[in-house]
């Protein structure tokens, strides 16, 4: 097993790929979550009928394969002469993709807060915003957390597809090494291990928060 041509420099190359994966994931999940919260609240406020345009738009992002979205997104930005770097394009497309799923998660979380609880808050003289901030947000977060963690981990893995726009993230970095060193199993094993090392803390954080909140 230690009879390998893999050098420390190659490991550094993989690490750089991992950083790229992390960067794309972090930006997309952050932006996607913010958008998802905004759209989720809007959908809840507007009701099924008035939020139809949002729902329709987000359904597109949920149903078209991400690879196609990335390629089309990239073509679109070049047609529109936006001059975006592949990283920017990747983050924009992945953010919208994340937002589409996150909207559903947020909407589900908000509707899980009983109407009677919200009515009680409003009866105490709280404004709509105070109700959202102090009652709905904490309760909806608890309900949505497992699904959101799942989404984040999913986006991290799906982010590998940005290699089609020429970004060298973890999977692409591994492929390059495999081609050069002809040691596919060993390198993919390392690649998988790195994915796991990145995911594990996120999954654990979710477990920890769930446990902490289960006392009430």
């Amino acid at each position: 097993m230690f009879d390998t041509a893999l050098t420390l420099a190659d490991l550094g190359f993989l690490a750089q790929g991992a950083v790229m994966t992390l960067a794309v994931t972090a930006v997309s999940v952050l932006a996607g979550t913010i958008l998802g919260v905004v759209f989720g609240v809007l959908r809840n406020q507007l009701g099924t009928y008035w939020s139809l345009p949002i729902t329709f738009l987000l359904d597109i992002f949920r149903s078209v394969p991400l690879l196609i979205q990335l390629v089309l997104g990239n073509a679109l930005q070049s047609i529109m002469k936006l001059g975006w770097a592949p990283f920017t394009t990747s983050c924009v497309v992945l953010s919208l993709y994340t937002a589409a799923y996150c909207t559903e998660i947020v909407r589900g979380g908000i509707s899980a807060v009983p109407a009677t609880t919200r009515r009680a808050a409003r009866s105490l003289g709280m404004t709509w915003w105070q109700d959202m901030r102090y009652i709905v947000a904490p309760l909806a977060t608890r309900v949505s957390l497992p699904a959101w963690i799942g989404l984040t981990l999913g986006v991290m893995k799906d982010s590998a597809l940005v290699l089609w726009l020429g970004l060298i993230e973890l999977l692409r970095a591994s492929q390059i090494l495999v081609t050069r060193l002809q040691e596919p199993l060993f390198i993919l094993l390392i690649c998988g291990a790195i994915y796991f090392i990145i995911s594990f803390p996120i999954a654990r954080l979710g477990g920890y928060l769930e446990k902490r909140w289960s006392n009430d």
């Binding site: 009983p114 609880t117 009680a120 105490l124 003289g125 904490p138 309760l139 909140w213």
Partner: protein, 240 residues
């Protein structure tokens, strides 16, 4: 003073309140009885503006509840309401439940709100439950907490909507005792209830609702002793 003038309210085709006229004076305890679907809950939610009305007016201390430009959030500070369903904020401890609105709505300091919350919780017999989460409490305790939470806003009026209906029979007593205590302290209250004995004891007046109409209103001795309305007679016979 709460003045209800010719209030009408429909949900779609169904007219739930068909011209209600009622005035509740400061310090009065009014109970409302009546069959299911007669519009009792709807009237209470119209009083604090959670529901709109279609005609008539409701005036609370000179403020027209449903007029354009009425600050409902401000108005609701003086109208405490407790519902049939338990609706504690499950992510907050009992103490935090009671402190939240005084701090966020009234702008009280934490210390001020905590002192008030402890006082009200002690008052309803929950002085030893401050750090407990609502899910660890019985239904009766949750309802008493909801009462303390409303009282912490120092409301001028308290509205109770069948606060004992969702409780196991052995827990009804402790909540009714709390209501009796409030009544004896001079709180102005409107209580919707199915507890006839309680209504008879605490009320200054009892109103009987039937199909969206206030069919009879009278002091308890009169309403229970010599009911006039035929529907009321049937209703009272059925509850024995």
């Amino acid at each position: 003073m709460i003045e209800i003038e010719n209030v009408r309210k429909s949900f779609g085709q169904l007219e739930v309140l068909k011209g209600i006229n009622l005035t509740v004076q400061k310090g009065e305890v009014l109970t409302i009885i009546g069959g299911s679907g007669s519009g009792k809950s709807t009237l209470l939610t119209c009083i604090n503006g959670l529901e709109t009305i279609d005609a008539g007016r409701i005036v609370v201390d000179g403020t027209d509840v449903h007029a354009k430009g009425t600050d409902l959030n401000k108005l609701r500070r003086k109208l405490g309401i407790v519902f049939q369903q338990f609706n504690a904020f499950p992510h907050l401890t009992v103490l935090e439940n009671v402190m939240l609105a005084p701090v966020k709505v009234l702008g009280q300091s934490k210390a001020e709100a905590e002192a008030m919350a402890v006082k009200q919780l002690t008052h309803v017999g929950l002085g030893d439950k401050l750090k407990v989460y609502p899910s660890r409490m019985s239904g009766g305790q949750q309802q008493r907490m909801a009462i303390a939470r409303a009282l912490a806003m120092s409301p001028a009026y308290m509205l109770f909507d069948e606060v004992t209906s969702a409780l196991d029979p052995q827990l009804v007593g402790e909540v009714l005792d709390t209501l009796r205590m409030l009544a004896s302290e001079g709180m102005t209250m409107i209580c919707v209830t199915h507890e006839m004995k309680f209504a008879r004891e605490v009320s200054d007046r009892v109103a009987f609702f039937h199909k969206g109409v206030m069919a009879e209103i009278a002091p308890p001795e009169e309403l229970f002793g010599a009911p006039k309305d035929p529907e009321l007679k049937t209703f009272l016979a059925a509850t024995h």
